[in-house]
Symmetry: C2
Subunit: 335 residues, 2 copies
Amino acid sequence: MKKFVNNPVDFVDEMLEGILYAHPDQLASCAGYSRNVVRSSCEDKVALVSGGGSGHLPLFMGYVGEGLLDGCAVGGVFQSPSADQIYEITKHVDSKKGVVYIYGNYSGDIMNFEMAGEMAEMDDIRTAHVVGNDDVASAPKGEEHKRRGVAGIFFIYKTAGAAAEQGASFEEVVRIAEKTKMQVRTMGVALSPCIIPEVGKASFSIGDNEMEIGMGIHGEPGIHRSTLQPADLVVDQMMDKILSDLPLSPGDEVSVLVNGLGATPKEELYIVYRKIAQILKQKLVTVFHVYVGEFATSMEMVGFSISLCKLDAELKNLLSFAAKTPFFEQAALQG
Amino acid sequence: MKKFVNNPVDFVDEMLEGILYAHPDQLASCAGYSRNVVRSSCEDKVALVSGGGSGHLPLFMGYVGEGLLDGCAVGGVFQSPSADQIYEITKHVDSKKGVVYIYGNYSGDIMNFEMAGEMAEMDDIRTAHVVGNDDVASAPKGEEHKRRGVAGIFFIYKTAGAAAEQGASFEEVVRIAEKTKMQVRTMGVALSPCIIPEVGKASFSIGDNEMEIGMGIHGEPGIHRSTLQPADLVVDQMMDKILSDLPLSPGDEVSVLVNGLGATPKEELYIVYRKIAQILKQKLVTVFHVYVGEFATSMEMVGFSISLCKLDAELKNLLSFAAKTPFFEQAALQG
């Protein structure tokens, strides 16, 4: 296992220790759970909480900060955080204005967030659940409730986070999060597996000349495996699938997220974006803002995903709002 | 070759096309050279220009933007840009206040920047050269002029860029850049090679259970190759080497950059930072600000580097200044 680790069982806790050493002015742990990460100062506003397995940085905790999340429950590598953990964080961040949970569509996360929400409701803390399911590869149209949540959750954090930061009500923040969720679609492709530290070896294999389109961020099966093709052809296939699910008309406006899964160089992500830009231009679709980099990874997996978020004036305005965490900074965008 | 590329000969130009499609409000090409990247609007100030081979994003062009560089000459993968290219960019960014070249200590880059500078001087454009040589692994103390420039150049860009943006004179910007250079030291470690697209395979190999401490960002030899050790022991060795070259006393203040070389997950970079923080704390050295992420890569190389920059009030102030490029954003830091 070619990784920089000490004892693999300490992987998550040592990583968290490093993060809190590095960013004490912005992040803190809370409520006796070293794996609960919150902003170092609580705000009087609707709170946003996420959570999920480790191994996806900057997902999930990397989005705790100004204009984004208030807290995050961190699980083991690819494992859900516990309901108790989420419940404690909920009590910590609530300022009597309610807590909106935003997390991916995985059974462990759903179960634990639902349980935490029920516990919080008994304390008269209002909660709501927004479950990201942007991965079009994971179930056909009409069965969106079966789709996995992947990198597109970033857009939900971004718009709902901006709304909450600007003082929106609980209902408004939930409405914005749900609205954004409906406008986001993602497709991924992988060329290699990743290594879970405690396992110490790749959990599956992809042939030397193979790629898998639609593979999930934990290595869940995709749409099909084939010979590795030139970047433009890979992007064509992925965009076809996204655009058949999220039809765009001339004049429509989108934001694009090209997300590296871990080991794919930024140079290649921009070669990918080049083709996306050409496809959208041909469809007379305007690109409002482009994010290129690592936003939701799978450790050292080779691969990337493309997410589109269809915008209207309201979402554009929220996307433009400034945000600042140790992992992501964005000055206010010009409209 | 498991990479997302089209024809490998188009790698650099397609990447640049993607970058300019993605960030037209911030970046532009100039002077008939599609590989010359400049800010989309020129500023009336001392200009900073860098350049170097492709394959290191965000180095070098990723630092073109507010509070950092004004232009960058982009070469082929691991190849110097041409003197003509640099000369043309120099004319473009000069606002009669002079142009400061900041680049790494590689013979091709030195030759081409010197030639470009001579051509510019004939046009009465004042130029100066600041050559980054932060890699302590590449030559012993006393032979600093032989050391390679690696990730630590970021600190030179940052402080000199802030000074120039605030209207400092040519002499002042050069002084700040030279002063910063003297305070920066870097050590790297690699676990794997990377693949140059036009070559299509790894240019060297490291055994399955080996690491090489001190390896350069193009695979240049390091200090020694050994069995892969636990992260803490790797960091210990690297910090020993850095601290014997840049002695720190109790009460001293530093900024730390933990730089991923390409395929090393952010989780592991924070495990690395955890140990660095412990070492510095034990020495009663204060950490002012920490940068963790990919700042100077080698495509998909597995590895990381540690850079320390010793600070005084002046450098701290400049490091705190806001910066904004498509690849790097930093709001003003609190002192």
